[in-house]
Every structure is written in structure tokens, then in C-alpha cells.
Symmetry: C2
Subunit: 295 residues, 2 copies
């Protein structure tokens, strides 16, 4: 598959015991199927993949695949150990995921050669198409364009999900990557409040947290960009500024948990040690989703 368009990343509702709440997950996935997103990013960082066991990750994937219908699922297969990441990628392929999202999860800081070997082995041994998940805010590893270039030539590595860029930097970032990857390699971005500019600059994919719960928001912006109407895309994006401010203040993950609970789609807290947001923040979130008519 070629990863393009809107990839929507839902939270993974789970209990304090780490068991995934499958009915709640299905409700979230059904919203994404109905909105016709281009793919579902299951068990991303917002889906708290590193906090879940292999068994729970498999249960979540099976349920989501069943619910997603024809919408392809890209699933997080990152793990601290290479052998564990490989097992997760093999599970994902066996279950029927379209691709895996592999982050350079680390404790001991890793070198470029270590990350190259890790990714190459998972790609080669699993046969699962992989998207490089570059998320220095959580992994503390930073992919240079050079390393992305090397990895883009490994069979089975088909895409990169880069962290959000400042608006004045995104065209240059995209050009730097485009110069080192083969034709057809997909370049996408996360960091919702920065992605509209990346899409206008020609990015292939938007890996979106907000669309994991409010897919219409992402669909509308992407449609405007595809129609060549950058002004309309920017207007839709600017309208969401109050939400982006909450994302930056509390992290998109914590805000999305609060939103999903407020919408009664689940009653879940993020995995401890992450705490649910307090009353004051939750009240502000409720006001913002009401004002923006998010539902």
C-alpha cells in the first residue's frame, strides 16, 4: 500500500489493569470507517502502544481490523527490544494490518547504525511494510535525512512519519527528505497544528491525532488542500487554534482522553503513570469542543 492522505490515530481505551476495552475501541474505529479516512493509525503514541502487552496489542488489532471494514490499518509495532518489535510486526502481518509503524523506542540512547540495523531486521524478517515513525518527543531519537535516505532503500520500508515542523521550515524539510528517498516513498507528518502547511507544501500523508476522534476536521482540511484551496485549508486550521493551544499545553494524548470521555464514547484514563486531566482543564476542553462544534 502507499500511505497517503489522512491517517487517523485513536486512543486505545483500556482499564487500570491494562486490558483493552474492545467495545469502546470499536466505537472509535467505527467513527473513522464512517468518515472514510484513508487509513487508521492504531496503537500509535496516542494509542499508548508501549504501555500495552503483546497480547493486548493483538486483541486491539483484531477487533479494529474487524470493525474497520475496507479502511486499511497501520499499526504501531514499536518496542524497546528488536526481537519484540519483530514479534509485534509478525503478529500485525498475520492479523492483516496493511503496514506497521515503527518508532526508535529507546532507553539507552541509540546510534544511527543501531537504528538502521533494528529497522532493517524488522522489515526483512516480518515482511510487513513499515512506516518509519520519527517521534523525538517520545523516543529521544532524531532521524537525520541521511538515515531516512538509507532506510528508504531497505525493501519493505515505504514511508516516514516526521514530527511537526515550524511553518517556515516545512518546505525545506520536505525537500531535504524528497532529495534522499526513492520515487513513491511516502513523506508524511504528525503534529496536527503544523500539518496544514506541510500538506500545502506537498506532503503525502497526515498522521493525525485530532482525526482519531474528530475525523471530519481532518477530512475537511485535506479536501481543501487537494482542491488547491490553501486559503480555505488555513481558515479551517486557524478555527481550531483553541484546540491546538490545549494540545500544546496538556499534550494531544491527554486532551483526547478527556474529549472521548466527554463524548461518552468511553470512560477511560490514560495508562498510569500518566494521569487524567483535572477538573479545570476538562472544563476548558468541554468549552472548546462545544464552541468548535466538535462531535
Amino acid at each position: 500500500m502507499r500511505l497517503t492522505g489522512l491517517s487517523a490515530f485513536p486512543i486505545t481505551p483500556s482499564g487500570a489493569d491494562g486490558r483493552v476495552d474492545l467495545p469502546a475501541l470499536r466505537r472509535l474505529v467505527a467513527r473513522l470507517r464512517e468518515a472514510e479516512v484513508d487509513s487508521i493509525g492504531l496503537l500509535g503514541s496516542t494509542g499508548s502502544y508501549p504501555y500495552l502487552t503483546r497480547d493486548e496489542r493483538r486483541r486491539a488489532l483484531d477487533a479494529a481490523l474487524d470493525e474497520a471494514g475496507r479502511v486499511p490499518i497501520v499499526v504501531g509495532v514499536g518496542a524497546l527490544r528488536t526481537d519484540e518489535a519483530l514479534r509485534l510486526a509478525q503478529d500485525a502481518r498475520a492479523a492483516g494490518a496493511a503496514a506497521g509503524l515503527l518508532a526508535a523506542v529507546s532507553y539507552t540512547p541509540l546510534t544511527d547504525d543501531e537504528v538502521f540495523a533494528h529497522f532493517s531486521e524488522v522489515a526483512r524478517e516480518s515482511g510487513l511494510p513499515l512506516c518509519i515513525y520519527d517521534n523525538p518527543a517520545t523516543t529521544h531519537f532524531r532521524f537525520s535525512p541521511d538515515l531516512v535516505g538509507r532506510l528508504s532503500r531497505v525493501p519493505g520500508i515505504v514511508a516516514v512519519k516526521s514530527p511537526g515542523q515550524e511553518s517556515q521550515a516545512v518546505a525545506g524539510h520536505l525537500a531535504d527528505l524528497r532529495a534522499v528517498v526513492p520515487e513513491g516513498f511516502s513523506l508524511g507528518y504528525s503534529g496536527d497544528w503544523t500539518v496544514t502547511e506541510a500538506l500545502i507544501a506537498g506532503a503525502d500523508a497526515w498522521y493525525s491525532v485530532v482525526a482519531g476522534l474528530f475525523p471530519q476536521v481532518g477530512v475537511a482540511i485535506l479536501r481543501a488542500v487537494r482542491a488547491g484551496d490553501a486559503d480555505e485549508a488555513r481558515r479551517l486550521d486557524a478555527r481550531l487554534d483553541p484546540l491546538w493551544a490545549l494540545f500544546r499545553e496538556h499534550s494531544s494524548l491527554r486532551v483526547m482522553y478527556a474529549c472521548a470521555n466527554l463524548l461518552d464514547l468511553c470512560h477511560a484514563a490514560p495508562p498510569r503513570p500518566i494521569l487524567p486531566l483535572g477538573e479545570a482543564a476538562t472544563r476548558r476542553i468541554a468549552e472548546v469542543i462545544r464552541a468548535l462544534d466538535l462531535r
Copy 2:
């Protein structure tokens, strides 16, 4: 127990399958017992704790406790999830560890309140005395003196292991912490090449990677400091500069694996994705340990 003096942190030799090589671990622990270090820091970052399963961590602890004789063991109980860290602390207490070393392991960046709740719960529910493990290089969480002060008042939290400080900053760092913790709370440091100055400035404990394999080096420096001979301590420390340079270049963990293999104490590689050092680096390490007469 009060954590003071030299705490020696060995590697945890294990196979590619993640099984701990118990005979090799016993050989490493026996060296530490014979050198009469003040405590053994099992399953620290150098002991690659986050890469090992709960079962393997328990196997390693049982064997080390058996081999350590009367030398107390401080054992890493850090984990990404609060419930998992608690289970590890309960295991450690049941097995007979003297204390637990708890790091703020994170993927989603954590707030101070989240870390406070995490540590408080593990201390309260396990009954295991805990040392706060402040290691921003691996966890990317930084403990402020204010947070250390709050945690030092939680029953069962008895010590902090701070990261290495620049020599001109260490006395101030120590004074800042001393001002916020109760009498008897132990203040210790890691970052071997910086610790001599911390000890001279009055730190209570040295959490040492080098002493995990070459305990005499640490014993000698600590003895000089305790005898009030700062000049001799600095001379012994400066003599190790070639080793410190290797630590800074390749990380102390990777260098210690190479050393343990060169000494024929084990034949182990760090857990993948971490790779063993290449031939050129290993040759330099062999030269340095020969020149310094480390054995």
C-alpha cells in the same frame, strides 16, 4: 538501610533471547563481594533492566542475592507502567533486596505530579525502601530539587541518585538538594568521571559503572576521599582519564560489555537494538585496560 559509599553496577550478561546468563552474572557479583563494595546496584541502566522481562529480572536478582553474601543489593525496579513497577518492587522485597532503584521511565513525557504519584504509590504499596533514580539521559525526565524534596518526605523514599554534574556545579547542586531533604536522606551521584568531585564535596554515595567490573578503582578513590586526601583521590581519578574518554565516546554500558568480554568473564552482547562495539573501538579499550592495569 542507609545508602552510602560505593554502589557497584554490573552489566547483566544475557543471550540474544533475553535469558540472563546466571553463571556469568555470579562471576561478576563475586568480584564485587570480594572487593567489599558497600552495595551492589543490580539491574541498573548498565544492567539493562528495561530490556529484561519480570521473570528474568527475578532470576537475576535471586542469583545475585545468593552470590552477594552480606553485601546489600539495590535493584532496579523501574518500568513504564506504574503497576509493573509496583510488581517489580514487590518481587524485589520478597526476594530480599535491600532497596529498589526507581527511575521515571517514560514514553509520553511525564509531569511532576505524575512522577510524584508514581513514586509514592510504588513506595507505599511495596514497602521496599526506594532510591530515586534521576537519569535524564535515558528517561528524559528531570527531577527538580523541589520534586526531590517532596518525594524525600514520602515514607520509604530514602535516597536519590543524581546524574553527574560539572565539577564547578556539584557543590551547589548538593547544597540545593541538602536544603530540601530531611536529615539522613542519602544524596548520591552517578557519572563516574564526575563523581570524585561530588564525593569531595560531601556526597553520600557513588553509584558506579566502572566499579561494577573494576571495583578496586572505586574503592581506592573512595578510601582517599574518606581519609581526607582529596589530592590523592583526584590523582586516582585523573589516571582513569583514558577510560572516561571511552565512556563519553561510546557510553559506559557499551564499554563495560567490551571489557567484560575481554576479561573472559562473559561472552555477551548488549540487548539489541544496542550493538556491541566494533573491532577498532574494542582494540582501543583493550589497550586502555592494559595500560591502566585494570583487571
